[in-house]
Symmetry: C2
Subunit: 161 residues, 2 copies
């Protein structure tokens, strides 16, 4: 892909896409929560061709057609999301914060092998609540901290760094 | 501007912008209707910085902040719209038809100096009804034709070309 295609897709993502990270309760996860990431593009189903074109460029993710007439193309695999965020970093304007914080989270995710490190990443995930103007978000780093404390994990004292 | 900036803006326009042409009733116009064009970008007012950035790149148009929390950056001057459509033509994907038809209309507009030519352009404007999925459009080339016929303009017989 040449740089104008990267730039085009970055513009498309800024205009009509979303980058989000959230904490999802998972019984089978050691710390009880998963850090879930996704990059998604939305379009009216009539325009699904552009979603297929995007998928052909990325070579990953999946397309869904909803009954509401809206389709989306979504990538959730952390390695793929990290790769894509790095590619778009130089071109994205509106979602620059989303990209920068997303890269920080995903680069550190493989090393979040103790509760303290995991909660630090959860705090970075919290920032998406504000930058995405998300009001419905219920799982926060504070909830993860309480969950881990209640299960006698060694949770460090809260710091703002 | 370098080509990645053009490509970025084309992607942004495809994702969240609009290109539209419409017929507007005008008492002071010789054929009773104006062919009005516009390119618009929409964003939550919180993100108005990107609209200002776009305006700085184009050097024309105006930004409005609505009470609904949505802002828009709009360009309506035909010469400016034509210039911008030509710049984005190589990069736009989703709105390729909007751009191509828009360029055809605006290139011919200065030469629409008889009712037949004007109605031909109005028919091109009609196509935006379908490509924009616009259901509310009331003024069509047929209405312009009837208006001109009723005023004894020499209106050519309808052809499909």
């Amino acid at each position: 892909m040449d740089s104008t295609i990267f730039a085009y897709i970055a513009g498309f993502l800024d205009g009509d896409g979303s980058i989000f990270f959230q904490l999802v309760k998972r019984k089978d996860y050691i710390y009880g929560y998963q850090i879930r990431c996704s990059i998604a593009f939305y379009q009216k189903t009539e325009n699904r061709k552009i979603l297929k074109w995007l998928k052909s460029k990325f070579g990953c993710g999946y397309i869904r057609h909803r009954k509401t007439g809206i389709s989306d193309y979504t990538i959730v695999e952390p390695k793929e999301v990290l790769k894509i965020l790095r590619i778009f970093k130089p071109y994205v304007i509106l979602k620059k914060k989303h990209v920068d914080i997303g890269i920080r989270i995903l680069e550190k995710l493989p090393f979040a092998d103790n509760p303290g490190r995991f909660i630090k990443l959860c705090r970075l995930v919290d920032t998406y609540k504000n930058i995405n103007y998300s009001k419905k978000r219920t799982n926060t780093s504070e909830i993860v901290r309480n969950y881990l404390s209640a299960r006698n994990f060694n949770v460090p004292v809260e710091t703002s760094s």
